[in-house]
Amino acid sequence: MHLAPDTVPLDLPPLQSTIALPYRLTPGKATGTFLAELAARRIVGTRCLRCQRVEVPAQDVCSCGHAELEFVAVSTVGTLQSYTRMPDKTLGLIRLDGCDCDLLHRLHGDHEWAVGQRLQACWSDSPQAQALDLLGFEPAGQGAMAGLAPAAFEASREPLDSMATELKLHYQHAAGPYYGRLFDEMRTSGRIMGIRCSHCQSTLLPPRELCDVCYERTGTWADVADTGVLQAFSIIHLKFIGQRRDPPYVYAEVILDGASTKIIHMLDGVDIEAAPARLKPGMRVKAVWKAERKGSLDDISHFELIDPI
């Protein structure tokens, strides 16, 4: 990898970042029915009216591609086709009697498993309209009702029509040599540095190996002032998850003196009511630094107008 002169890989710890987002998902009719009926200790599949295939869990569309289906309650007893043991759980593929496909589910309890073994469903005592209301499958007892054909189905309750869930994704981002130097200079000297394209001489902030426009290598590091021009702004009133400040506030795009690219930040010290009429692109701004710098854009608390309006 090419590094511009004076770009030294620094041992910065990776940036920890989490994306946490809530969801309210729609299961659709088949899945909604399957999940709801688990509370009644019923496993619901579908029979295709065209090809007669019985599939489980209930599907909205048959494997044959058609959607003319009827719900059926299927046997809760079947035969183990395949299984895998993991440190925290065991999963298996079970062919429930009368079905034309396997069901993927948990194998429940501390047992020996073998392909061909007869299994029966076991159930949670406190169902919550979720997949694990069916805890899993265990070796079938002597009394297990085997060979039950899929039966016409009368819904015992409303299908589930929405499910709340969350994604919480964690990341450790490497800074790389260019951001590494940028942040190091900001932290140790309160200095903002961009890097110059060897061809067009634009100064790029944040710094990077290649100029986006010329696709030529950057070469010289250059100081960028902490004053600049307010290129664009908008006045934020809306609230959203993860917002770091309560509105209203001014969202600002600033071209710092010496840089050819913009940074995004916030502008304080402006009367929000007066701003639409009085604040204008082109006004000069300066950065207000935090007392303690950590080496990030966040070391700048906000921008202020050099000439208050």
Binding site: M1, H2, P9, P14, S17, I19, Y23, L25, P27, T31, F34, L35, E55, P57, Q59, S63, Q81, S82, Y83, T84, R85, M86, P87, K89, L91, G92, L93, C101, D102, L103, L104, H105, R106, V115, Q130, A131, L132, M163, T165, L167, L169, H170, Y171, Q172, H173, A174, A175, G176, P177, Y178, Y179, G180, R208, E209, L210, C211, D212, V213, Y215
Partner: protein, 378 residues
Amino acid sequence: MSFQGSQPVAIVATAQTQWRATWSQAQHIDLIAAAVQNALKGSGLDIRDVDFVIDSGSDVLDGRSISNCGFLGAMGAHHKEESRVEDDGLWAAQYGVAKIASGSAQVGLIIAYSKPSESDVSQYYRTMADPFIQRPVGLDEESACGLQAQRYLHAHQLTPADLAEVTVAAWRKASSNPTVELDQVPSVSQVLASPMVASPLTQAMMARPVDGAVVMVLANASVARRVTTAPVWVKGIGAAMDSSVFAMRDAQFDVCRQAAQRAYARAGLSAAQMDLAETSATSAAAELMTLEALGLAEPGKAIDLFRQGRDAGINASGGALPANPIMATGLVRLSEAAQALWGQRTSSAKNSRRAVVHASSGIAAQSHCVFVVEVERP
């Protein structure tokens, strides 16, 4: 815009960064920039000759929505036509081939990159499972591969030791591949003794995620003939996807077989005519299953290629088990095949002319893409 027929498309250059467990000193854009520059260097082409960029990457792996949008400068895509295929890079290459074949462009960059070290790989896979049933039940890459492997071993009376043999063969080959960074080649007993992940698969039998970037330069015939004496022609492509319901999947990678048949048919060639194979897999069992689905061995018999020492042309690069960049794996296989056909890999048999190249994606290889390529030597 009108187009006429389907014009031939060649691979004219390629480059990979080194594949490392963690590229701790580089961002995605640093790896991408390095690979693009290296691919163009010595190709006789520069960024101004490039008409379009098709890239592969994953928002979930990258930790950033529309991550390609933030990487356009490093890709050389400024003021060019760019699209992302959010699947393995071999599918991006398929798109690039179509574009040049249509006559609407002459030169394209295909870029794939990944930094799985920055995220939780198991979550990348787990979030592919439907959120209502399979995901809470526990379908993820490991459990799916475990079930797949158990079924495969059971059906063909094979054992974990066979999977260990395949694993060791892969790592041994990778140890002479300069682009793969690795510490040591495990022994069969070490592979068997590594922690059980999902029986019968131990950790060592699962593909190892790695960071890096790979670039292919594709061109039409007139450019190809100008810049290289040995264009690697793309002779045929096929792809196919299986069900999202794991329990309904075919046990023998039938969709891979279909994809391969389409590719061979388009190329007017057969599996027997392939000198080299570069395949993707996330487990040693999947590698065997893939080789069979590609027609390189009968069902249950791919292990014989290894037992009988006939695996020299199979994943000579080491394949995906020692180095699996996830979103880029199939494109790396294409890069390796091209370099082998150009005689740039000492490991490969001389006078190899044709290669079959494979990518798979989704939980336990739900989707497959196959390329058949052939080098034209002066």
